[in-house]
Structure formats: structure tokens, C-alpha cells
């Protein structure tokens, strides 16, 4: 069957393209990309996209799908339902499940469940260390063969510097890369929010930006030593952006992501002890938000990934200190990120690069481009659709969203994976 997406504004940074095009899909792949009106619609299913933006399918390279082990929070099915509803055609699933994804059996289980769900593509991330316990390297070669695309102990840092050195080297052995959760646990101690004016006022123990920056500095030094490749997860702090920018200028093979909440919220969101604003790394200050935006604009930060972290009222309807870290983002990520475009901070091409092209390149997975022969993973976006966030209507099982009732401008209206429409605005 062939599908024609007619006349949309095709934004595909990999081809340096941002112009109206007809896009023809056949056999699950991009068959042709031509000037508008040149591909005949007869005998084809035609999607009129004249008022829409057509991008390579969005890829969120940092989500927690909670399966196996915490299916009451999210499953691979509901997580990928949330992904496609948010315009994502692929996600990278972090390994801090129960059991931890530190072996090929768990990796295969995740891929089987994702295949059964048959919505967004799921790229498993394996654990850096067995059980993410920070002692023994897990089986990178085996897991890569089973389908793992990267390795991370996300949710916690690799505290032992020698293990981090060996992990960088061992990953290089298999032509793999690491995703680092950068946090010095000794500096964080009992911290539950950013250390600053608001933590002082609320009497909550602080997590200084230095807890993130010091660990990034360590890992950049190790990267210099080992020659591996490193991706830095969920960058939140002013100083972190500067460190990464400097390392890139020096030629280190480092990439980095931030999350929409780090450019949409400050630590003031915690006031009133709102546990939906409890996230790690923590929401920081206006100065940090400005640095994150600048980092996205100048390329110090490569990707936007939402760190979708579902929790239920069991983990969140508690005293602030007792509540779990984390918030969900798959269904708000694009809307929040488009604000950067509406505000003139990023061009539309830069945004698509951060949400599709670059994640595909960093993960080394297909997609992220709409050239003929590529997989037909496509997101259709209505840039000017104004909508109100309603966490209660999310496809995700969880509701821990600090953006509930926010009005956003811009929304995915159709998500196509492998040439198949897996979600469209109802």
C-alpha cells in the first residue's frame, strides 16, 4: 500500500531541507520526496498536509517504561502509547527496571513486548554495571547482539571512577557508547531539590549544581583518557553546559541531552511542596534555564529527551522528602519544546535536529531522516494548534506531570511508524 503525505512543510535537517514537499511512502519506507503537486495521488491514500509540518519521526532517547517489574506505573504498551501520542516514533528505554536490564534475556524481553505493542520503536539501553550496582561490568557484547544500543546506569551515577574508566574502555571494545547520569551522590547527600534560595525558604535539603558539574568534569577527564564515546543525560545546570561546550571545542567525542522541564520550569515550581516538581537532577534557577536554552541554540546540547519517569500516587502523594524523583513527559515534550521555536530561541530545523536527527545519530539507529530508502517514521505537527494539557487524559498510566492545565501551542497530529499510521489526533 502506498501513502502520500501531500504538500506539508518538510523539515529534515539531515538533508538541510525545510520546504513544502510531497512525501511518498511505500513498503514501510520513504519512496520519494518531491516538489509539491508532482506525485499523483490517484490510487493512493493521501494525507493533506498543507498546513502541517512533516518531520522525521521524533525520537526520545531517554525514557523509563518501567516494564519489567513496575507495571503498575507503566508498561511497554502504555509507554509506547504515550510516545506515539506525543509524536514519538522511537524511544530509548533506560535499564533501571526490575530486574535491571543488565543481560540479553531482559533486553530480548523488552524487544518482544515492544514488538507485541507494535507502536513506537523501542531501543533498549543496557546497564553499565550488573544490577546498576556499580561493581561489575555487565555483558555489553551479548546485550548489543540482543539489541541494546547504549549502556547506562541511569537513575544513579557510576560513583567509582575506575569502573567508569573501564566501562568507557569496554564499551569502545564493542563500538558502543555510554549514557552517563552525572551526579555525585556524596555531594547530593539527602538533597531533594536544587540548593538555592527556594530550598532555603522551604527548608528542604539542597542538591548543589556542583553535584552534577563535578561528575561531568570527572567523566570528561576520563573520556580524554580512554578515547571512548560518552553521552551526558539530562543536563540541568549552567556550569554543565559550559563544561560540555568546552569539551566539544577540544574535540572530545561527547554529546548531551536536556529535558523540557529544564528549560520550562525553575525551582520555584517546588513551592507549595509540589511533588510533581521533584525530579533528579532538580529544577534549577532562571540562570540555568537560560544556559540550557543557549546550549540548545549553539549546539552544546544535542538532544531534547524528556526522561519520562512514571510514578503513581503511591510514590508521589507523600511528604516532599518521601516522594520519588521523576516526572512524565512524553505527551508534553513536543509542545513544551515548540515554545523554543515560537520564542525564537531555536529554528524549527534546530528543534527537529534535537528531537530526531541527533538522537538517531547518537544512538546509531535508523530514522531521523526522510531521504528515499529510509524507514517511513514520520511525525506530522500542527505548529499553531493551541491545546490544554490534561494529565488525566494521558495514554501513560501515570499522572505525575507538573504541566497539568498548561496551555501549549503546537502538537503532533499524526505519528507514522514504518509507513503505518500508529496514532492520529482523534
Amino acid at each position: 500500500m502506498s501513502l502520500l503525505i501531500a504538500g506539508g512543510l518538510v523539515v529534515d535537517p539531515a538533508q538541510n531541507l525545510a520546504a513544502p514537499r510531497d512525501l511518498l511512502i511505500e513498503g514501510g519506507k520513504i519512496a520519494a520526496l518531491e516538489a509539491p503537486g508532482t506525485i499523483p495521488g490517484n490510487g493512493r491514500q493521501v494525507i493533506a498536509a498543507q498546513n502541517l509540518v512533516v518531520t522525521p519521526g521524533l525520537i526520545d532517547m531517554h525514557v523509563h517504561l518501567r516494564e519489567p517489574g513496575e507495571e503498575y506505573k507503566e508498561t511497554i504498551l502504555t509507554g509506547t502509547q504515550a510516545a506515539v501520542a506525543g509524536g514519538f516514533t522511537a524511544v530509548a528505554a533506560m535499564p533501571n527496571t526490575r530486574p535491571v536490564n543488565d543481560n540479553a534475556a531482559v533486553t530480548r524481553f523488552i524487544l518482544e513486548a515492544a514488538g507485541a505493542a507494535n507502536l513506537a520503536r523501542v531501543y533498549p539501553v543496557g546497564a553499565i554495571s550488573m544490577g546498576s550496582a556499580g561493581h561489575t561490568l555487565s555483558e555489553y557484547g551479548d546485550q548489543k547482539a540482543a539489541g541494546a544500543v547504549a549502556f547506562s546506569d541511569d537513575g544513579r551515577p557510576v560513583m567509582h571512577p575506575m569502573l567508569m574508566r573501564r566501562a568507557l574502555e569496554y564499551a569502545r571494545t564493542f563500538n558502543l557508547f555510554l549514557i552517563a547520569h552525572e551526579e555525585d551522590l556524596d555531594l547530593r547527600a539527602d538533597g531533594v531539590m536544587h540548593e538555592g534560595r527556594i530550598s532555603l525558604e522551604l527548608g528542604l535539603r539542597g542538591i548543589p549544581s556542583a553535584a552534577e558539574e563535578a561528575m561531568i568534569f570527572r567523566d570528561l577527564a576520563l573520556l580524554q583518557l580512554t578515547g571512548g564515546r560518552l553521552h551526558i543525560a539530562h543536563v540541568s545546570a549552567f556550569g554543565s553546559v559550559a563544561l560540555i561546550r568546552t569539551a566539544k571545542a577540544a574535540g572530545l567525542s561527547v554529546t548531551a541531552e536536556t529535558a523540557p522541564h529544564y528549560f520550562s520550569l525553575t525551582d520555584e515550581a517546588v513551592m507549595g511542596y509540589d511533588t510533581n516538581a521533584k525530579v533528579n537532577p532538580p529544577l534549577r534557577t532562571a540562570e540555568d534555564v537560560a544556559a540550557i536554552k543557549a546550549g540548545l541554540a549553539d549546539g552544546a546540547l544535542d538532544a531534547i529527551a524528556c526522561d519520562h519517569a512514571p510514578h503513581t500516587s503511591l510514590e508521589k502523594d507523600l511528604e516532599f522528602e518521601a516522594a520519588a524523583f521523576g516526572l512524565i513527559g512524553l505527551e508534553t515534550s513536543l509542545g513544551l519544546s515548540l515554545k523554543l521555536v515560537h520564542d525564537g530561541i531555536l529554528s524549527l530545523s534546530q528543534l527537529v535536529a534535537a528531537m530526531s536527527t541527533n538522537p538517531a545519530r547518537i544512538l546509531g539507529v535508523p530514522g531521523g531522516v526522510l531521504s528515499p530508502g529510509s524507514p517511513a517514521d514520520i511525525t506530522l505537527i500542527d505548529l499553531n494548534r493551541t491545546w490544554q494539557v490534561d494529565a488525566n487524559s494521558f495514554a501513560s498510566k501515570s499522572r505525575n506531570c507538573p504541566f497539568h492545565e498548561w496551555t501549549l501551542r503546537g502538537k503532533a497530529v499524526m505519528t507514522i511508524v514504518g509507513g503505518r499510521v500508529v496514532w492520529q489526533e482523534g
Binding site: 538555592g196 532555603l200 528542604l204
Partner: protein, 311 residues
Amino acid sequence: MEYMEFRRKDLLGIAELAPEEIRHILATASSLKEISARPIKKVPTLRGKTVVTVFYEPSTRTRMSFEIAAKRLSADTLNLTVAASSAVKGETLMDTAHNLEAMQPDLLVIRHPASGAPHYLARRLKCGVINAGDGLHEHPTQALLDLLTVEEAKGRLDGLKVAIIGDIAHSRVARSDIQAFTKMGSQVTVAGPATMLPPHLESLGARVTCSLEEAVAGADVIMMLRLQLERMGQMFLSTLREYSRYFGLAPRHLKLAQPDVIVMHPGPLNRGVEISPEVADGAHSVILEQVTNGVAVRMAMLYLLIGGEKA
């Protein structure tokens, strides 16, 4: 006393109180204080009202102070203690609170180690909530009794120099007092080792120094904080000996302050650590007046929150 309706359901912190509300509370406390000096220390004002104190942290004086205050106003009191509570059985704070509320108390007085726990309850419960100390956050009735004590000693609350000395970082008393004295027009200076002075204290209106001598110079009020001895193992300090030498209040320091300086302490004292016995028991000390005023201030809060007809 000038009549003013107190419209709040809860007392959660000094942060949300306006200066005129604070003045109203203090005036109410002053007028209720004489009840405690009567031979029969009881009035029927809160007869038929139920006050439940829920303490998730050990406390002697604050809890007793609330209980005596409630009894002097004829309220029925019920104490939920941590050891006997469901907390150890894994019941959530919310479930405990809903169970208590189902017994229809008029007011919950809560102390909890988590900052914001009273706010969490206040948002979800129909009955009033008094914060009797939440984590590192606030201890509003302590600040109110401190204000009352200073007002009685100095005749005013504005234009005073107030020094608060010790572990500011871990002190809910300090957070409440800094805001309370600043709101009433006095200048607060805090002092302690830099390990115990969190950044951004200036944003609360305080001056910050690491020198005890500098903080007490010209002070009208010196407030010493209790050094929590468990901090010793947590890299905040070197030795108790050195802490006491640099941040313990001794008679020689009083010479730097105003001649009529008063010395306060929220208790319990670590004699010989943050305060020398000579100062604690000396002529400038108002530490026991603070305890007496604690009852008056808590009577005032109970009266204002659940006494009379609430709109």
C-alpha cells in the same frame, strides 16, 4: 484589644503571615497570659473542642506547651505519639490524618521531620492545622513566642538588632525567627561556621557573618540555637571544644552588646556548648520567660483558629 477577625484555617509558617496578623496574635497572647497566673488556671472558651497533637519527632516542651494551652482553654486534648502510632506500621501520613479527622477533631497540631508535612495535611484536611515544627522549614509558634518575649522586654519589635547564632542551616527556629523579626522591622544578623550558613540567607533579609563577635556587637537580642550533637559526625564541625570556643556565648560577649541585651534560647540547652552556664542563668537571660510565653502564644493560636464563630 482591637478586634480583628483571624480568618486563617491553619498556622503553617511565619512566611505567610502579614505584620498586622502577627501583631494581632501577640496582642491576643498578651491578653490571655494572665489566665496562667490565676489560682484557677482555666477558662471555658474552648469547651467541647478537640485538639489532637501528632508528633512524629520527640519533643517535651513544645508538646507540653500546646497541651497546657489547650487545657487552660478547656479544650479536650489527645496525643498521638510516634512510638504508639501507625507510622511504624507503614501507614502513610495521609491515611493517619484521614483516620484522625474521621474522629472529628477541631485542630491538629503536628510536628514532623519532613519539611512541608503540615502544608500537605492542611491542603487535604477540613480541620485546622498548626505547624509545631516541620523538618528544617518553620516553627512558627516558637517565633511568635520569641517576638512576645522581646516585645515584653524591649517594649517594641522594630528597630532592634537581633543576633541569631549557631546552626542556621538545620534550624527551623532560625528560618521562622529571621522572617518574624525582619517582618516586624528589626535587623537580624546570623552567625555561625560557614558549614552551617546556607547560601541565600540574605534573601530572607538577614545579614550574615561567620563571627560571633561581629553579630553580637551592639545587639539588643541574642538568640542562641541548640547545636544538634548528631551534626558532629556529618562533616559540619571539627570538635565540640572548638565550636564552643568560637560560637559559644560567654559573659565576655555580652560586653559587646547593648547594656540591656537579652539572651534567648529555644531549648533544650547544651550547657557549655553553645551557651555558658553563667550566661544561661545570668541576669540577661530570658530563657524561662520564653517558655512561659510559649503557653500564652499557643493559647492565642488555639483561640484564634478554633475559638468563637469562624466565618
